[in-house]
Amino acid sequence: MNQEFQTGIHPDADQLSVFVEGAATSREQERMLLHLAECAECRKAVFLMQPQEETQPAGRTPVKGWIWGRLLPVGLPAAALACGLVAVLVHIWPRDGALRNPQQVASLRKPEVLPKTTVAPSADSEMDQRSGTPRSFAPATNRSRQENLSLPKSLNLPESSGQAAAKVAAPETTRANLSANVPVAHAGGSAGGVIGGISSELPLNGRNFSNLQQLSTPEPAKAAASQYSLAKEKDLGGLMIEQASGHDKTLAEVSGHITDRSGAIVAGAAVMLRDASGTTRETTTGVDGSFHLTELPAGRYELTATASGFKTSKQSIELNPSQLAMLQPVLEPGAASEQVTVETASAAVQVETESANVGQVIAGQVVAEMPNVGRAVGVPSGLPVTASVSHGKRFISLDNAGNLFLSRSGGKKWKKINPQWTGKAVRIELTPAHSSEAPPKPNETSGKASEAAVFLLTTDAGTVWTSKDGAHWHQQ
């Protein structure tokens, strides 16, 4: 019987399977259908061949439900995780360019009360020279807070091999003199020690040696070049993350060394790394001031460095799998206070030392009404604000791309100021009007205030522009 079925006029199993799997040629398909239309047995066989769903259609719905039921506990957290990831990405992405360490720019407006000390040079510049495309990340979360505290720490994060070089370079490089309104023209430090043969007349703070190479030949006032240099500078973050080879690909490492502002190593400093869930990893720096933490799951961490006699340094870092983050926290002496609180008869007065011209800082303004100078105010560009000055309700903020924003509403609404100057604005200050009279009362109307105070803008080309109202600028 079987034989007859097989060898008779019916299609054999091979033809049936070819038909059912859709591998038949059109001619074969046609012949098969013709046969099936007539042959109840082969039809039956063909329908029998269909997998489970065909023979037990009733089983479908419960199976489906069961699958969903089982997937739900896994699927929901997974979906939530994915959403979170997207949110983090969205958060980081637009700022990516901007995140490249606001501290470097922030240091531009360090109060001059601070002694001119050497700061660990941007070893990342070397790195930039050597490795074509450094990947740098800067903390996104604590940025504003850091700015608010105006912890003028300079983060220099060389790639691992550059670490030693960075140390060597440290004492040789002096920080730029920031009090100068003409930074470019102002000779900074000697970078020659690091990059060999480039004796630059340019300020070195945060600058990129590779760009200095460019700048060393053209005249300092070459605006375009310096703009480029500054732009590049932003790319070199306080945090340099590079691919660590030969490690577990899912884990990351952090290493670096801690110095104080003079570039001296800080041994025995406690370094604590706290992840989002609060788990901490701790270590202390060795005699050479270096620390190293390995086998860290990727994620966002907060790095805290503490040493007696210094202020606690905090920064948040984002670790990607199989990356080695090189950090170089710079500890500030604990004594140097960022804020001076003066007790007056009426109220606590806070003096913002954020402005570069410390001597001219408006003194005696009431804290409550003091506009939030240095506060990370959201500007339309979405970039981190590197400097902010205010007068009355008139705020001027400078983001780290050099865009200037003006708000007449106390920070609620911002308007971009179209640059009338060439080059990039690097510093914004507020000085009292030419007379050294007492500054206007903060609750005065902005119109009055603008008469009494002058906004000072310095571009990277070294020109100084002034404005009374923030909108109209004149070169000095």
């Binding site: 079925f5 054999d12 591998a23 329908f47 029998l48 997998p51």
Partner: protein
């Protein structure tokens, strides 16, 4: 009941000539070579042999090349009969085969140990599961599967030689699909032995057509159905048969045809309407008024369905009658 075969019955039995020759080839694989020597270039043969991991199933290059050539000539490399496949077409055909599964099947058919080990490891469980699925019972399914196993293992003998149906597997479809097909055929054979009568009897509900229409008209209707069907496409005929005779759902049919359910529905509707119109025409030509003809076929769609089924069934007659006649 016994109607002289109209066009529909003249359909050529599927690949009858191919089948006999291929069976012959299946039995005597070793002897089968292309008429003008080797069809398979040595380079390609070796490449395919490697791709099939034929060495793992103790299949020599020559054996595998033979298998490929046999299959190629049997199906004329996927071309219409009469056409001569060129080298490129042959290569395309061979490359599209499930080479690894083909090598395994050949190895098994030739009784190679390692081939069997692989086969068992890979398909035993699936095969049993499929059999259980088809029979709807664990006991029946296991019985079916083990019967097939012994057959595949070559316990049956043909012309004094151990013979395994695996020799017939061409590699054009998947091996699992082929196994399912064999299982389904075995299962249908079981039906035929046991339950066919009752199954046909199930489709006996109110056959109003027969009641209302005179005998002569019924004859006319049968002829009309055959005429209409013969003009219809193969696919339409398949859909009509599967739907009205086997009472498969649209979903089931759509899976077999690998089209969307809605497409099947559309096809079925069109075929049904066409059929109904033709039948009405025939009835009226036979002397019935339009109304009487419509009444005879039924106005309720369900009636139409039932009546069509009945008519189709009757006009199709015994599904095996054609075959038997031709044998």
């Amino acid at each position: 009941m016994d109607i002289p075969p109209a066009n529909i019955t003249q359909t050529e039995p599927l690949g009858a000539e191919d089948r006999t020759t291929s069976v012959a080839k299946g039995i005597a694989v070793e002897m089968e070579l292309g008429p003008e020597g080797r069809l398979l270039p040595e380079m390609l043969g070796e490449e395919l042999w490697r791709a099939a991991s034929a060495e793992m199933v103790e299949l020599s290059k020559a054996e595998f090349a033979e298998a490929l050539e046999t299959i190629g000539t049997k199906d004329n490399f996927g071309l219409d009969p009469g056409k001569q496949a060129n080298e490129r077409q042959r290569e395309i055909f061979w490359r599209a085969l499930h080479l690894e599964e083909l090598a395994m099947a050949r190895g098994c058919a030739l009784g190679r140990e390692s081939a069997w080990r692989r086969f068992l490891a890979q398909y035993r469980e699936q095969l049993t599961r499929a059999a259980v699925e088809m029979t709807g019972s664990a006991a029946l399914g296991e019985e079916l599967a083990s019967a097939l196993y012994s057959e595949l293992f070559g316990l049956t003998e043909r012309e004094g030689k151990r013979w395994s149906p695996l020799l017939r597997y061409s590699g054009r479809g998947s091996l699992m699909g082929w196994l399912r097909a064999i299982l389904a055929q075995r299962r249908v054979n079981q039906y035929r032995k046991t339950g066919r009568e009752t199954e046909l009897g199930e489709i006996e509900p109110a056959a109003r057509v027969s009641e209302r229409i005179e005998l002569k008209q019924l004859e006319d209707l049968r002829v009309a159905i055959k005429m209409t069907l013969s003009a219809a496409s193969a696919e339409e005929r398949f859909v009509l048969s599967a739907y009205y005779l086997d009472q498969h759902t649209l979903h089931e049919i759509s899976r077999v045809l690998r089209v969307h359910e809605a497409t099947v529905s559309r096809k079925l509707k069109r075929a049904t309407e066409h059929l109904r119109k033709e039948l009405l025409r025939t009835l009226r030509a036979g002397g019935l008024s339009r109304r009487a003809a419509e009444e005879a076929l039924g106005t309720d769609p369900r009636d139409v369905d039932i009546n069509l089924r009945k008519l189709l069934q009757e006009s199709n007659g015994d599904p095996n009658s054609n075959k038997e006649r031709q044998e």
